[in-house]
Assembly symmetry: C3
Amino acid sequence: MSFLYALDLIGTAAFAASGALAGVRRNMDLLGVLVLGTVTATGGGTLRDILLGDFPPFCFKNETYLYISLGISLLVFFQHHRFDAFKNPLLYFDAVGLGTFVVIGTGKALDFNMGFIGAVTMGIMTATAGGVTRDVLSNRIPLILRKEVYASACLAGAVLMTVLHKTALHPSLTASLAALTVILLRLLAIRHNWSLPKAKVPN
Amino acid sequence: MSFLYALDLIGTAAFAASGALAGVRRNMDLLGVLVLGTVTATGGGTLRDILLGDFPPFCFKNETYLYISLGISLLVFFQHHRFDAFKNPLLYFDAVGLGTFVVIGTGKALDFNMGFIGAVTMGIMTATAGGVTRDVLSNRIPLILRKEVYASACLAGAVLMTVLHKTALHPSLTASLAALTVILLRLLAIRHNWSLPKAKVPN
Amino acid sequence: MSFLYALDLIGTAAFAASGALAGVRRNMDLLGVLVLGTVTATGGGTLRDILLGDFPPFCFKNETYLYISLGISLLVFFQHHRFDAFKNPLLYFDAVGLGTFVVIGTGKALDFNMGFIGAVTMGIMTATAGGVTRDVLSNRIPLILRKEVYASACLAGAVLMTVLHKTALHPSLTASLAALTVILLRLLAIRHNWSLPKAKVPN
């Protein structure tokens, strides 16, 4: 099992936990929690594969992603009070997932010969579309559209990877640098409570 | 016309009625009601076909589904007060649609060589994604994520069908057993007001 | 550059502006505004291409659409107060985009041998699905499902184009007539404050 694949599964688990917790908080029943956890963890990659025309999407080719998502969501459903103690570790795993998903998404889009904006979009989308779907299904304005340096960290990593892709750098070095950029930016944003500028709307 | 196809069209009509009624209640105009009815009736199968990579989706290959959805939605728009009297029959037709859609969705996924979770997911999705879209477009948390033994009945039927699929049982017997399971569970749930457990959230 | 392509880009810019303005009003950060503008401008055509099975979707084949959407969204983010003065012109450009998108969507669906309802649906969807997504992401009931002769103007144009398509009329004449129908209906609706009938719901 490659290192990237291991990180991918860790990220999947972290994303599933965040989705399942949102379901628990919204008073959903068992099945709702399973759906929300799974969609959060696999929705981004699924949307990417649909747009790339690669069928069936990754998680149906390798169901490991679905088993992990469902397993973690079950665990959250029955033991969600214990996850409160893990709030900080969860944020770190989530950051790892974010970096990994960006790198996997951007890399796959480049393999499919997408252009610059296409590759960057696919990278960001892989990492964030699951969370957007989680928020839409929970009847909220998606968090990443409103605040936090979250998608922006993905943007930075996806741009870096797309640019480095044209250089002579070894692919695994390119991927590592891009992933680390995302993870680092995200962790710094959490620690220092960074946020992007907003347009000033006169009341 | 096969028996399964007849049930499929009945289910389509029932789902369209439920979507169109939601539109009427939300004070939508004529076109909004048509859209909501049609999306509720055909959205699940369409999402399934997209994920399976089968283009164009079923309702564009055979527009009968779209004509029925639009016709029923028109009827609901102009005669919606009469549907109040049909509330109970509608629930039964809806249950028939649920069972039929699960069987059709699971069966198609198995034909496309999806794995266990994939086939079960496609079965549930075919029966429920239209209703989820209806609720998202109506700006509500999707009903099936919150309560009622609805998606759970689909889950039971989809699992049964996927398991029986590996046995020597005749496909039409397998399909009938799975569809009946869904319909029966759903009707029992309505009658006895069943619901799934929810996670206990303090406060 | 063909005349239709020029109109297409104008429509893209107008739709991006409307999406980005919605993001600004909803207090989204820079990236949220970029996402909302781009999704509004390109979401309809993207959904159409997914349903037609034409991958990757148009805006990833020709990234001009994405560059325009992102550029306009950036402009709106930093200069949104200036767009207030342009409110009326924006409505006209939006109407032009509406007509153009309907014609392009319907035409493409006919090229892909879709049936009558399929072609009409693709035409309406190309013009409206981006706005629907904008509203779902902003946590609102989609505007076009609630009021205004907006989707209805698209319906008229898409039906006209599909019908004329079977006649001996020259394709560019067919397209022009259909686009003008949409634009004219939309402008008349704005000026005279038209709306579609709603079902009467007894309180």
